[in-house]
Symmetry: C2
Subunit: 260 residues, 2 copies
DNA sequence: CGCCGCATTGATGTGACTCAAGGTGCGTGG
DNA sequence: CCACGCACCTTGAGTCACATCAATGCGGCG
């Protein structure tokens, strides 16, 4: 029921301006670590780059140029080219997420970064960050945790488990950013979700209706409402007798929806 | 057919000694980046720790203590605890691989690190590395690339694809370390491989015999011989018309077995 | 209007999981 | 020593979940 059309998928990304993390309102979700507030350090400067919906921030083969990105607003998908059929989507990045940190030691990018909605990213130069080890450590930790939790999610054997884990991850990330964890918009298409979860679109659709029928959620086009995050969590963790499974010291990655 | 017994799975890891990367023979596979040779910098010192087969280097919940590890020799598996059944194995680390870099910004470890054979690891303190950004960048890049390629592998839908990708990865890593890419020993059990690939042990066994019957490889207990890496690669990449797919600028992660 | 992309639903096949049994080598203890 | 238990691996039969193919509905766009 969602039918936007992207007529021009390759119009160039444009418009740049200066930015400063000290005054940035995205920074609390973006930069981990305490020394962010440390104003005795020079502020991390970056160039802001707008990326129009459907256009590429960079693509596989592009020179990395010793810089990476933080999403200021919007959503970017990162996809690795695959010989067969469509590319494989490796991540959906939203406000505050880091992008292309994996390319920090590479000459050229391995994947494509495409905006799912009109977005703006902060371009960060390695040079500007490498004198701030605490900052870098926090970013690295955040990034690796995300990759690991993605792999962890993909090891969930069943389609329902994977979908539940995905939705809870989205929920948590919205919550962390100050939005409602119960109701939010899916900026990506069903096909893209299915791709990310390594499922067929049909299977994803069926799982969604199963969840709907079980009263776990409601979904109207791309508007999602979680009705029973607890049950979703039980599903995601492999159900069973996962009763007293409290966790603390959370990072930004794949996390519980016990925020009610 | 493999039947070692680990009587005591929790005897403590012991014995420490000093080590120096400048003279270490593992360094070429371990530390990426060019400034490793830079002797104007102080050498990276580290403590070597022996880990007996079956014992834990650390486990989930242990304090991180602002240090991580590089494998000097041996093999370590890193597994995340899972409420249901067995832990999920997230990585097999061998000579030169980095371990616990994901914990760099955390207080406590998320997973268990268990030696699959008698091993020795270099304990690296964050402090000692953070004045060497090039070094750190290289390590970060290497680590994230590994995580990404694991996730990429797990998105391969079929059991054969995943297994082929896994074997080629092992082959490549042996090759990089100066060992034969065609013949090597599997230090992990079938169950552990199956766990890592998110397959049932039975399915893994069947795929192995399929590969054997197809003449792609031979396997005697844990001794593996790759007979047709090219065919394996076609399988792993999703077969199809993946003809002219040359790649350069390789990292250490999931890579071709075009080395013949 | 006709086309196309997206999403859902149904019918059907199949690949992987589950359960079960059998074989093997090691370690232990009678 | 040998019987036994055990951990590991393999193989077979049956089942189920997911992929595949196909048809339909919907809405935007040319």
């Amino acid at each position: 029921m969602q039918r936007f059309r992207i007529s021009d998928t390759s119009r160039p990304a444009m418009a740049a301006s200066q930015a400063n993390c000290l005054t940035c309102r995205t920074a609390p979700f973006c930069i981990p670590g305490r020394d962010r507030q440390d104003s005795s350090q020079p502020p991390v400067l970056s160039r802001r780059v707008k990326v129009a919906r459907g256009s590429k921030l960079f693509q596989a083969g592009d020179l990395v140029g010793e810089r990476f990105y933080a999403i200021h607003y919007g959503t970017i998908k990162y996809a690795l080219p695959s010989p067969s059929r469509h590319d494989k989507i490796g991540a959906f990045l939203m406000r505050g997420d880091l992008l292309a940190l994996d390319a920090i030691g590479l000459k050229r990018h391995n994947g494509n970064a495409i905006a799912l909605e009109d977005s703006e990213v902060c371009e960060i130069r390695q040079r500007d960050i490498q004198s701030r080890p605490t900052l870098l450590h926090g970013m690295v930790s955040k990034q690796i945790a995300r990759e690991q939790s993605t792999a962890h999610m993909l090891r969930n054997s069943s389609a329902g488990q994977r979908l539940a884990a995905f939705l809870l991850d989205l929920s948590w990330r919205h919550f962390r950013r100050g939005y409602s964890p119960h109701r939010f918009r899916l900026v990506m298409s069903r096909q893209e979700i299915a791709n990310f979860l390594a499922l067929s679109p049909e299977c994803l659709s069926r799982e969604l209706t199963h969840f709907k029928q079980a009263g776990l959620l409601e979904v109207d086009e791309r508007e999602l409402t979680l009705r029973d995050p607890g049950a979703l969590r039980q599903l995601a963790t492999g159900a069973a007798a996962a009763a007293a499974h409290q966790q603390s010291a959370r990072t930004d990655a794949m996390a519980p929806a016990a925020h009610a």
